[in-house]
């Protein structure tokens, strides 16, 4: 397995970018954004066959990442910025009037945004369409869909889950950001990771659980080539894969962790400073590095 150590720094920086960009607007979805940072970092930093250039070219060869839990748009934007798909300037237009980066995503493939989302439960079925099309065209790309555990309350998601299994969509992976909280509090239906894992296994998915903040565990669960030792069903072709990621809502910022109020709230200066200190990220350094990366990209374009 490749070393994943370098990704830890990306995680901290992405969390800082979430806070920085989130403060551009009013209240923002910090809790559900912070819970999926390792998932996004692993995908964009190590697993996805995707790049800013492949997206700009709308290359059919790219892997597709579909954010079904659209309220975590802030996390996706921050990740896309960290990995060069969006400039810092674009990221900081988050939530501004008329912005291309509103609080819930707008499809804009050239910027790496594959799906307009916000209303929950629709991303998996959309991803089934994507995965089916890739198979029909014999394209190698994989489709990754990220949903929340609260989102599993939407019936359409189970329509899609049954279809994916029946259709043998083994180029499709569903990640469940299982942070156990939704807007009003705990998910009302048992969303213990083991219970969810069993539900997906029962309808024909290869179904795994992992610590959604542990990059090595995520890598093992997500890597298409690695059959999982922990899978009760054998990793065989013909099954879509579901990875239930046990996460903490608000992860990385002590006063946000497990706090339902931080599903969507404003962040004042004092707490912002405290959060950045906890993350150990020097904002000026972060801005400089992103600015330098953007300048580097521009000069590449000019060449």
């Amino acid at each position: 397995m490749q070393s994943l150590n370098h990704l830890q720094d990306h995680c901290a920086r992405i969390r800082a970018l979430i806070l920085k960009a989130g403060r551009q607007g009013g209240p923002s979805h910090y809790g559900g954004s912070l819970s999926c940072v390792e998932i996004l970092t692993l995908l964009y930093g190590a697993l996805l066959h995707c790049s800013p250039a492949l997206c700009r070219a709308q290359s059919p060869e790219r892997d597709r990442f579909l954010l079904s839990k659209g309220h975590a748009a802030l996390a996706l934007y921050a990740t896309l910025c960290e990995f060069g798909y969006l400039s810092l300037h674009e990221l900081l237009s988050f939530d501004a009037d008329g912005s291309a980066l509103p609080a819930h995503c707008l499809r804009d493939v050239a910027r790496g945004l594959e799906l307009s989302s916000g209303s929950l439960g629709m991303g998996l079925s959309f991803g089934c369409g994507t995965a089916l099309s890739l198979k029909k065209r014999a394209l190698p790309g994989r489709v990754y869909v990220l949903c929340g555990d609260g989102e599993l309350g939407e019936g359409e998601l189970w329509e899609g889950a049954r279809f994916a299994a029946a259709g043998g969509l083994d180029n499709l992976t569903l990640l469940v950001d299982c942070n156990t909280l939704q807007l009003d509090g705990p998910c009302p239906v048992n969303s213990a990771a083991a219970a969810l894992q069993a539900q997906f296994a029962a309808i024909g998915w290869e179904s795994l659980c992992c610590d959604g903040h542990n990059l090595a565990q995520l890598y093992e669960a997500l890597s298409p080539s690695v059959p999982s030792a922990q899978s009760s069903a054998k990793a065989v072709p013909g099954h879509p894969r579901c990875v239930i990621c046990r996460t903490v809502k608000g992860k990385g910022v002590s006063f946000m962790e497990h706090e339902v109020a931080w599903h969507h709230q404003g962040l004042d200066e004092e707490r912002y400073t405290k959060a950045l200190a906890e993350l150990g990220v020097d904002l000026a350094e972060l801005d400089d590095s992103l600015g330098a990366a953007a300048a580097g990209q521009e000069s590449c374009h000019g060449a």
């Binding site: 307009s116 209303s119 959309f126 994507t130």
Partner: protein, 326 residues
């Protein structure tokens, strides 16, 4: 398709669903990116032949219309031209938010086909009627809404949809064996109404299967001395505003006719436009009242609600008389 009398009669026997299935079968080979998604409605949509000829282009998802809509969006985002097909209420109301948030919001190339819309499902009752579908679909930005008058026009609409990007709502009404409205060839252009009959006093604006009834009503009224023009507004969105600019000032009275609630459909769309026109003729909107109709055969329902030729003629004559006396 070059329409003639013989073809028109043969299509009329097939009905709008048969015409839809046959057109896709005939033209499917010419559209490599075509995908047809049905929700346990393969036989209802008369797609058996299509499925046999192009099994790789047909997906039957089973009874899950929300999934059908999102899956169709996912396919379209990858460059497919997708027809998603179910009975009209299930293809629209059941998955309305998916139509808005995915097909509409991302402006994807999906043709939503609503089978047996209006009250074509007869004794099945209100769960199977679609008397609000045109209203809902008209509200999605960028969504064209097309309601063909007969089976031949259904063929032309499908042919057009195969050649132009969506999204489109194709609202199919009427039962098999209705007399054809069109017996010779004509140009079908979405957004461009077809004047079927000239007249001098009343301008009738109709869409869907009621166009045929309106044509017969106009003939009845002519015999009674009331001269009625008739236009087939097969496209509810975008409306043919050029025709409306002219007709609203040319006639004493405008009458809209549709197999839909009076609210929200063609009549509402026309009213929204003509209400701002200076000197526009009054508009009487004929359709279903704001209630759940009692179940019964389609013909019985149309008769009960004044939407067959006799009912239309009587309502139009009354409206014209009231206007003349006022």
């Amino acid at each position: 398709m070059e329409l003639d009398h013989k073809i028109a009669l043969s299509l009329s026997r097939l009905g709008s669903r048969g015409a839809f299935g046959q057109t896709l079968s005939e033209l499917g080979a010419a559209c490599p990116e075509l995908m047809v998604v049905v929700a346990d409605t393969l036989r209802s949509a008369k797609l058996e032949d299509f499925a046999a000829r192009y099994p790789e282009k047909l997906i039957n998802v089973g009874i899950c219309e929300q999934h059908m809509a999102s899956l169709s969006a996912g396919l379209a985002a990858e460059g497919h031209k997708v027809f998603m097909v179910s009975f009209a209420p299930f293809a629209t109301l059941r998955c309305y938010e998916q139509l808005k948030a995915q097909i509409g919001y991302m402006q994807l190339d999906v043709i939503i086909v609503g089978l047996l819309s209006g009250v074509a499902q007869g004794s099945a009752g209100n769960t199977h009627y679609a008397l609000e579908d045109a209203a809902l679909l008209r509200l999605i930005p960028g969504m064209r809404v097309i309601s063909p008058a007969d089976a031949a026009e259904t063929c032309k609409a499908v042919e057009w949809c195969l050649q132009h990007p969506g999204p489109v709502y194709l609202r199919l009404t009427g039962l098999n064996g209705l007399p054809p409205v069109y017996k010779e060839d004509y140009d079908f252009v979405p957004g461009k109404a077809v004047v079927l009959r000239e007249g001098t006093q009343v301008g009738i604006l109709a869409c869907g299967a009621p166009v045929g009834e309106a044509l017969r009503a106009a003939r009845l009224l002519d015999k009674q001395g009331l001269s009625c023009a008739l236009a087939n507004l097969h496209t509810l969105k975008p409306l043919d505003t050029t025709l409306l600019d002219d007709w609203a000032r040319r006639f004493e009275l405008l009458v809209s006719v549709e197999e839909h609630y009076r609210a929200g459909g063609l009549g509402s769309a026309v009213a929204e436009y003509t209400s701002a026109l200076k000197g526009a003729a009054p508009l009487v909107r004929l359709g279903f009242d704001d209630e759940f109709p009692k179940a019964g055969s389609c013909a019985w329902l149309l008769s009960q609600h004044g939407l067959n030729a006799q009912g239309l003629a009587s309502q139009i004559a009354t409206a014209h008389r009231v206007l003349a006396e006022s």
